[in-house]
């Protein structure tokens, strides 16, 4: 390895070494998660790029079973299912990342703010608010917001953002409550740093790492919500390739052409399983229990 590929910059080599070190720290579960996710990412980038077919374009007779020409067969409008499945992967994963990242930022910020105040009454009301918001059945709250904002991608994202931040706020508050009395925070106070600076520079980063752990399991839930609402026809709508919407379309041909749901459903599940394995593996590593 020391011979080195001349095209790899020193920084690149360093990163490789680091990557290998991370890999070694992983357990079987999290490794499987990484492998599955890497596979799906590679396929979702390469398949639409390399295939001559367009996810929206008619290519052949509709409802053809999988064959050498069309590995996943064709759908009810004669489109190439393979390209559509992986075009959908791009959209779903991108939407899920968008869906997770906004609540995590908003939630940790609000939660950290709440965790650093010391007012009993404010705390009680705060607890009630977060409990109430999280008492709504998730999908029903999302549906309710979508009904008001609009049944499209924009409405779906807004609904996810509004309904998911509270979970992060809850985690962030608990963590920052523990942190506000920590030594380094008090040291910063003694040094006369402003509240905001202490919050942003000292408490937030610590809280954030905790929230990231939760974000993985939230990712699964959000990708299910995106697929679920689109399945109901209230999120991403046809002809845009999206796993849930494709399942809704394919459902009509369940008896005769089951591959229409098997392929999108399989890759949707596989993505969620990959994230679940990664999350569980990491959780077990952080708890110190290995195989």
């Amino acid at each position: 390895m020391t011979a080195g590929n001349p095209s790899i910059s020193p920084a690149g080599r360093l990163r490789r070494v680091e990557l290998r070190r991370y890999w070694r720290q992983l357990n079987a579960e999290s490794r499987w998660g990484v492998v599955i996710l890497a596979l799906i990412l590679v396929l979702s980038v390469s398949v639409p790029l390399l295939s001559p077919n367009d996810p929206y374009g008619f290519v052949d007779q509709p409802l053809q079973p999988p064959s050498a020409a069309f590995l996943f067969g064709t759908d009810h409008l004669g489109r190439d299912l393979l390209v559509r499945v992986f075009a959908a992967a791009r959209l779903d994963i991108a939407l899920a990342i968008l869906g997770v990242s906004v609540p995590i930022v908003i939630g940790t910020f609000i939660g950290t703010l709440a965790g650093t105040t010391r007012n009993r009454i404010a705390e009680t009301i705060w607890d009630g608010l977060v409990n109430a918001l999280t008492a709504f059945p998730e999908i029903i709250l999302v549906l309710g917001i979508v009904a008001m904002v609009g049944a499209d991608i924009r409405g779906l994202l807004i609904a996810i953002w509004i309904s998911r931040w509270a979970q992060y706020a809850r985690i962030a508050r608990a963590k920052s409550l523990a942190l506000r009395d920590a030594e380094f925070v008090q040291a910063a106070q003694v040094l006369g740093y402003s509240q905001l600076r202490i919050l942003v520079r000292h408490i937030m980063p610590n809280v954030f790492s905790e929230a990231l752990a939760y974000a993985l399991s939230d990712f699964i839930f959000i990708i299910v919500i995106i697929g679920g609402l689109s399945f109901l026809g209230l999120g991403v709508t046809p002809p845009t390739p999206e796993w849930g919407a494709m399942l809704a379309e394919g459902r009509l041909y369940l008896r005769t052409e089951p591959w229409l749901i098997l392929f999108p459903g399989f890759f949707l599940s596989l993505t969620a399983i990959g994230v679940a394995l990664l999350a569980r593996g990491l959780e077990r590593i952080s708890k110190g229990e290995d195989e």
Partner: protein, 326 residues
């Protein structure tokens, strides 16, 4: 010294210190906030809801009538006051579509959803208990490993996919369930409900069985289990009293926590299996922009979850006195 044997019920508790009453008070506070959220929901609509519903050529009178219908006429505080006093009198507004009171629509559709919820939970308990116990007792065998892998896979499989797969298997391949539809009346309705309930349980059972399993494993290392073995406790008595019952509290608490998830997934399940419950009504209402109906269902489903969680708390307090002293 011997005369102070440590207090038995030494303190008498003022009313709100009683755990059940305190939980009840919390539940009411949360219910009040649910109401506030539901009120705010309709204010999320960008622009004038009446105009959105009526279109551009609406007459002035129509718009005013619609605003009244939606409860969005007058100042915000007066709107809220009217909203609360209506709710307290059981008036949840009327559906824009059918002009039927929201509460009566819900009353008609709720039984299907309740049946689905109850069937699901009964099935959850029936499946998660034996699975969790078995997974704990045989956790070092092939069964334990298979359980872990299977659980990871099932938990991550979205219900709208597993539901379709189950239909493919049980309704299309072997004729054990209808493809979709519903007929009221117990026990005939179970024929229509068992497959939807099983679908939800594909997600729920692995989670709960896992919680139960780790809880049993934890319990079995406790000193009181050893003490029971030494005093010669055996058979069902040993398993129920010393392994299962002390381990149930976290599982029941989780079941309460997942009540929201059950109600959530029930929406999608009702669509897949064509069950005319609240979920289907909600989805239709969303499609039709039937704002009052959406608002009412969102609020009531929140209430339902708060109620279920409260009940799980009660069962928990009965099963495990440790849970009450917290």
């Amino acid at each position: 010294m011997t005369s102070s044997p440590g207090g038995i019920g030494a303190r008498t508790l003022p009313l709100l210190r009683h755990p059940v009453l305190r939980r009840l008070a919390q539940a009411f506070f949360v219910a009040f906030l649910l109401m506030v959220f539901a009120f705010l929901l309709i204010r999320l609509i960008p622009g004038d809801p009446a105009m959105i519903l009526l279109g551009d050529e609406a007459t002035e009178e129509d718009v005013i009538a619609y605003r009244k219908l939606l409860g969005i006429d007058g100042s915000i505080p007066s709107q809220f006051g009217r909203y609360v006093s209506n709710l307290v009198r059981g008036d949840f507004g009327v559906s824009i579509r059918s002009r039927e009171p929201v509460l009566s629509i819900v009353g008609k559709r709720l039984p299907v959803s309740l049946w689905l919820t109850v069937t699901t939970i009964v099935m959850t308990i029936g499946l998660a208990l034996p699975l969790g116990v078995a997974a704990a007792l045989y956790r070092r065998t092939w069964f334990g490993h298979a359980f872990q892998i299977g659980a990871s896979v099932l938990v991550a499989t979205p219900v709208f996919f597993s539901g379709l797969l189950l239909i493919l298997l049980f309704a299309v391949q072997v004729n054990l369930a209808p493809i979709a539809g519903y007929h009221a009346g117990f026990p005939a309705n179970l024929y229509y409900l068992w497959l939807p309930a099983l679908t939800i349980n594909f997600v729920l059972v692995p989670v709960l069985a896992r919680i139960l399993q780790s809880s049993i494993v934890e319990t079995s290392a406790e000193e009181f289990v050893e003490a029971a073995i030494i005093r010669g406790t055996q058979g069902w008595r040993f398993y129920w009293r010393y392994l299962l019952r002390p381990s149930l509290a976290p599982t029941i608490a989780a079941l309460g926590y997942f009540a929201a998830t059950v109600v959530s997934y029930a929406v999608i399940i009702e669509i897949i299996f064509n069950l005319p419950g609240l979920g289907m009504t909600l989805v239709d209402a969303v499609r039709n922009r039937d704002y009052p109906l959406v608002q009412g269902i969102v609020f009531l489903s929140g209430l339902l979850v708060v109620g279920l969680t409260f009940m799980a708390d009660l069962v928990n307090g009965w099963l495990d006195p440790r849970a009450q002293i917290r």
